[in-house]
Point group: C2
Chain length 352, copies 2
Amino acid sequence: MAARTVKLAVIPGDGIGPEVVGEGLKVLDTVAAQHDLAFETTEYELGAELWHRTGETLPESVESELAQQEAIYLGAVGDPSVPSGVLERGLLLKLRFDFDHYVNLRPVRLFPGVRTPLAGVAPEDIDMLVVREGTEGPYAGAGGVLRKGTPNEIATQDSVNTRVGVERLIRYAFAKAAERPRRKLTLVHKDNVLTFAGDLYQRVLKEVAAEYPQVSVDYCHVDAASMFFVDQPGRFDVVVTDNLFGDIITDIGAAITGGIGLAASGNVNPDRTFPSMFEPVHGSAPDIAGQGKADPTATVLSAATMLEHLGMPEAARKVENAVAADLRTRGDEERSTSRIGDDLAARVAEQG
Amino acid sequence: MAARTVKLAVIPGDGIGPEVVGEGLKVLDTVAAQHDLAFETTEYELGAELWHRTGETLPESVESELAQQEAIYLGAVGDPSVPSGVLERGLLLKLRFDFDHYVNLRPVRLFPGVRTPLAGVAPEDIDMLVVREGTEGPYAGAGGVLRKGTPNEIATQDSVNTRVGVERLIRYAFAKAAERPRRKLTLVHKDNVLTFAGDLYQRVLKEVAAEYPQVSVDYCHVDAASMFFVDQPGRFDVVVTDNLFGDIITDIGAAITGGIGLAASGNVNPDRTFPSMFEPVHGSAPDIAGQGKADPTATVLSAATMLEHLGMPEAARKVENAVAADLRTRGDEERSTSRIGDDLAARVAEQG
Ligand SMILES: CC(C)[C@H](C(=O)O)[C@@H](O)C(=O)O
Ligand SMILES: CC(C)[C@H](C(=O)O)[C@@H](O)C(=O)O
């Protein structure tokens, strides 16, 4: 029997979700065997199918069970047959909010061998960590509609930002920045227009910065930052930003580092009051579902982030090394989802 | 005497603003002479200096005078010595809002000869027109702060979207799309998270689309769109989007088409109840101000958008042609701001 057992909730989800999660688990099991570790997985069927069958997105009983797990591993949810927002608000964001995933951690790294759409950019030019807020801001769900369907209709959408929420995020970001060689933290916001929220972020940034004299601090409006991600990505190390800006800039980050097929993320509750959730940035891609065409790499990299969070940095490094080696040697040959998973598992195994 | 006189308000502004506007006027005067046209300019000193001297950003008397002009030509406002938001909210956005500039028009075009940071992209791959909302959304200025400076502080920032505002914007975008060869319109929003505002945009889009069967309609979440701007810019023709998303994606647009030095914009009131305002997308760049280093091209291109709005499409084409010819033949030689202006004016003159 393994020395440590991790209770892991698995939510395969829709579209390519089950395929990529399957490969992720394959890699996880391989690395676990080497570290006297076992994953005790429980699968939860959440997503489009459940919603069509029952009208439910996250049954209360399921949520209480999830709350008892050590971590959650999610493939992707969503299907065009479900109205936009239903699964996002009812499942994905509900988990992020209820489980207090206040840090949405998204590394933006260009692995050697990966084709970027940017000309003249080398792997060492792109190595950032985006620390995106995950539990408030424009994602709060606040707002409403008045006089719907009439010429006098008004729809509002309110960004709610709390001192508590901003401070714990910014503290996390400083701690991460202090650990990295470049020790640089950039706040991305739009404080010249979103003056109330932007001012809160700026004041907290300044306060916490005083405790981290070794970290150099910068600020960038989100529009300028979006431009710099494309024409000067090297200027960023750790980036801290709000929920919506983080959503946008991490997709630009994905674009410049080889696309959404490689972008990993962790919805992290650093206080460990609830399980954290790890998922690829990409969606369920129903157009290629079930064909073995999906690249499981982002899901596998998300597992590395999970291992790190679970206190197993060595195991995390092995998974990352396996991915790096695989990416470095990719040719034009198309491999199936499970073939890529096998290759990654083998590269983990090699590291013994 | 010229057959037509256009009353033009000029706001040189701060930093490089006066320099680039000077070159824009040079080019405008050259093209005017060829079209039996004269610009009767009135200069208004607005910006950082006025604010420091008087504490005012837009005196009422100045605003009423501006309202009497046919158009406004603005360089750039802003200086690090002025707190973030003061000139933006008190001057730039105030003009956009008070003069009902509900269309913020931003062409995103890759001119031949211009270096893009994207690998393997040709000019024909990037030719879009972003129709950004200019008078509502997250820019409304709504929101507030409670318990400022305490651990219980809350800062809100509310996006206000009206049926009237969304419909007139989307109508404008369809009309533009119908005029273009590809006849494609993409709505960019985030309707799976910002469900109230996104739903309003979607419903209006569907309604107006029924009147434009010849226009093909697409939808993209803002995060995906930001990615596609980088790795598949060719998929966009006309893009319609809200105020904040438009701010962000047009800066990505600038990045992929040679940088902010070339990005033009028009703050347009299509109903002509107030003068429209034309300005480069870039800011006042105080670090290079007064050194003749600024590229006036974006300001000159904004003048072309202005000529179009004033009903002088031939004059607009000449200015664009001049810019295109200049960009096509740019070498590595550095030219001063006024030299570039001279060259552009000469290229307009050549077209007789
Ligand atoms: C699916 C959607 C709700 C989600 C988000 O906006 O956060 C996704 O885009 C992401 O980035 O994880
Ligand atoms: C200066 C700022 C208020 C402005 C905006 O956000 O609209 C600028 O970024 C722009 O794009 O014109």
